[in-house]
């Protein structure tokens, strides 16, 4: 299949070892021009190493594959020869230089004429919504966290990089500013057409902003796809657990019938899951179901065609937007069901601790997981 959008980043079987730790283990992925691409994972998963390989702070192992930027192999090329910009988690503003000199730093290195520097610095500051007249003379210490990160962003963007690397840039700013900046970053990406590579451990942040997400685990790309694909079709238990919440069930395929597989759980209960050609009869499989795709009902009221498991209500938790109903199934497993809160004062949920109930869900809402 041909893709009209050129690839700006290509990782082919890239490895990086520190001592005897394989931080990144033969990973391959591609990033298209203009994409907002997130690398998501818990700390130690290799996401920062991946970004540093991309930036040129680290080089791949000698036989560690190829990193290509804009089509060229850049394995050993220094960061300043890569047409990249970078925004650091710690902001990394030069504390001894004013906002103007910070933003103009890269232009100064390129021997840009002073008048042009001043004009481009103003332009860059306006782009990140900092009034130039108010901020150019300030020192980094006189700025709030959000303002510092805006300056850092302006400092990277003023050089018109082909790729902007962002290393958890919002990790240190408070929640409100973070939400605001997430939308602004997304808008900047669309407005400038610059490719953004965004490293984060915050799944919500990745889902909000990204065109595509690479979920990393243990030095490997566990899954790569759009936010919807990642959330709605998690391929492994790790992805299902790391992004959002999931309920897990394990069972053996007993029958294939009418476009569905019938699964026998440990205590013999039968549930139906969507058919998948890779699965054979008799095979042991694990499935995941999102809490918000399940419902709680009386055992007698289970809608026809739905999977249902009986249990006892353990707790009902008020979360504002949603209500979490925790159900202990007959086999002892805990299941969380998320229900929309329709107003507990007007229309309270009919469940309380100790009630007998069933959790029910549609077969197509089951996700069959691969062995991790």
């Amino acid at each position: 299949m041909s893709d009209p959008t050129p690839l700006v980043v290509q990782f082919s079987a890239v490895s990086k070892t520190f001592g005897d730790v394989k931080a990144v283990n033969r990973i391959s992925f591609e990033i298209r021009r203009g994409e907002f691409f997130s690398i998501l994972g818990p700390s130690g998963c290799g996401k920062t190493t991946t970004l540093r390989l991309l930036a040129g702070f680290d080089e791949p192992d000698d036989d560690g594959g190829e990193v290509r930027l804009l089509g060229e192999v850049v394995n050993t090329r220094r960061p300043y020869e890569r047409q990249i910009g970078m925004v650091f988690q710690s902001y990394a503003l030069f504390p001894h230089l004013s906002v103007e000199r910070n933003v103009g730093f890269g232009l100064e290195q390129r021997k840009t004429p002073t008048a042009e520097i001043a004009a481009r610095v103003r332009e860059a500051l306006e782009m990140v919504r900092l009034a130039p007249d108010k901020f150019t003379r300030r020192m980094p210490a006189q700025l709030s966290g959000g303002q510092r990160q805006r300056v850092a962003l302006a400092r990277a963007l003023v050089l018109n990089p082909a790729i902007l690397l962002l290393d958890e840039p919002l990790g240190a700013v408070d929640l409100k500013v973070r939400k605001e900046m997430q939308l602004e970053l997304k808008a900047l990406n669309q407005q400038l057409g610059t490719t953004f590579v965004y490293v984060t451990h915050d799944q919500e942040e990745a889902l909000t902003m990204s065109d595509r997400i690479a979920v990393m685990d243990n030095g490997l790309v566990a899954q790569l796809g759009t936010p919807a694909e990642i959330y709605e079709n998690p391929r492994t238990a790790f992805v299902a657990k790391f992004i959002g919440e999931s309920n897990f069930f394990g069972g053996r395929v007993v029958r294939r019938a009418a476009g569905a597989l019938e699964l026998a759980l440990a205590r013999g209960e039968c549930i139906r899951v969507p058919d998948s050609p890779a699965i054979k009869e008799g095979q042991q499989v694990q499935i995941a179901v999102r809490p918000e795709w399940m419902d709680v009902c009386r055992p007698a009221d289970v809608p026809a065609g739905e999977n249902a498991l009986a249990g006892e209500i353990r707790d009902v938790i008020y979360l504002g937007e949603t209500m979490h109903v925790m159900v202990t199934l007959e086999d002892g497993n805990e299941v969380t069901v998320a229900l929309r809160n329709e107003g507990q004062l007007i229309k309270p949920l009919p469940w309380k601790r100790g009630d007998t109930a069933a959790v029910a869900w549609l077969p197509e809402d089951c996700q069959i997981l691969e062995e991790a």
């Binding site: 930036a55 702070f57 970078m86 030069f94 004013s98 890269g106 290195q109 850092a152 400092r155």
Partner: protein, 266 residues
């Protein structure tokens, strides 16, 4: 606070009182008030000593800076060897300064280690005169004060955030530019502290010029010591100390003014 009053302020006041009192016959002071000791200082012979003291101290500070900065830089980037190297920098303090100065004499005298080795290697045919020269004094001072330069510079380099250097690199700064525009300016507080820690005690040094200079090239510290000890002119010794102190204070104040004014000009 009390500690400062008892051990610093009160002795200082006693010294000041001495400096404006007439000298006693056999040391000490007599009752009365006179500025004679201060007037006496401003004659060419003492002014020469004062100027020499400043020149020697400035040179010593400059040499310590040139030697100390690279050492501090290397230690700050030495990874797991850091603690060992720091330990080696501080190691000389385990021995008394006097003992170390005598060791320098054994190294540098005509029949000392340096000359013996050079003679045996056949590099020289007769011993070099190293001891009792301005060189040996400077060597002794630099040797003694170098750690006071290294440690503060090390401290400021050590806390330099590496991501600043990485940011500079992504922005296009080559190694030389990174050092000049990021590392050096951010280590200046350490450089300043190191310079003060070397320069001020160097001004007051008397042991090194005495033992390694053969008491030929007096520094103001020697003058003060002589006045209190052999010359038994306590008021003049006190006055000389106070003049030195006033000059140091003035120099530091001027420096601080300049530093505070500097950022606005950039």
């Amino acid at each position: 606070m009390l500690w400062l009053v008892v051990f610093f302020l009160i002795p200082l006041l006693i010294m000041f009182a001495y400096s404006v009192m007439p000298r006693g016959e056999y040391g000490g002071v007599e009752r009365g008030f006179t500025l004679e000791s201060y007037q006496r200082f401003f004659v060419p012979i003492y002014l020469t000593i004062l100027i020499r003291t400043f020149l020697v101290s400035i040179a010593c500070t400059a040499i310590c800076l040139v030697l100390g900065y690279p050492v501090a830089y290397a230690i700050a980037r030495s990874g797991r060897w850091k603690n060992l190297l720091l330990f080696l920098v501080v190691l000389p303090f385990w021995t008394s300064f006097l003992v170390r100065t005598f060791a320098m004499i054994f190294l540098m005298r005509d029949t000392g280690l340096i000359n013996t080795w050079l003679l045996e290697l056949g590099l020289i045919s007769k011993p070099l005169t190293i001891l009792y020269t301005p060189f040996s004094v400077m060597a002794g001072l630099v040797y003694g004060f170098l750690p006071f330069m290294i440690l503060p510079i090390y401290a400021s380099l050590e806390k330099l955030d590496n991501s600043l250097l990485e940011a500079a690199e992504v922005l296009g700064a080559r190694p030389a530019a990174r050092f000049r525009q990021v590392t050096l300016p951010l280590s200046l507080p350490g450089v300043v502290a190191g310079c003060l820690l070397v320069f001020i005690p160097a001004l007051g040094s008397f042991l090194t010029p005495d033992l390694l200079g053969g008491a030929k090239e007096l520094m103001i510290g020697n003058l003060v010591q002589n006045q209190f000890a052999s010359a038994r002119n306590w008021p003049f010794g006190s006055a000389a100390s106070f003049i030195l102190m006033a000059l140091v204070l003035a120099a530091v104040m001027i420096y601080l003014r300049m530093r505070d004014a500097a950022p606005a000009a950039r």
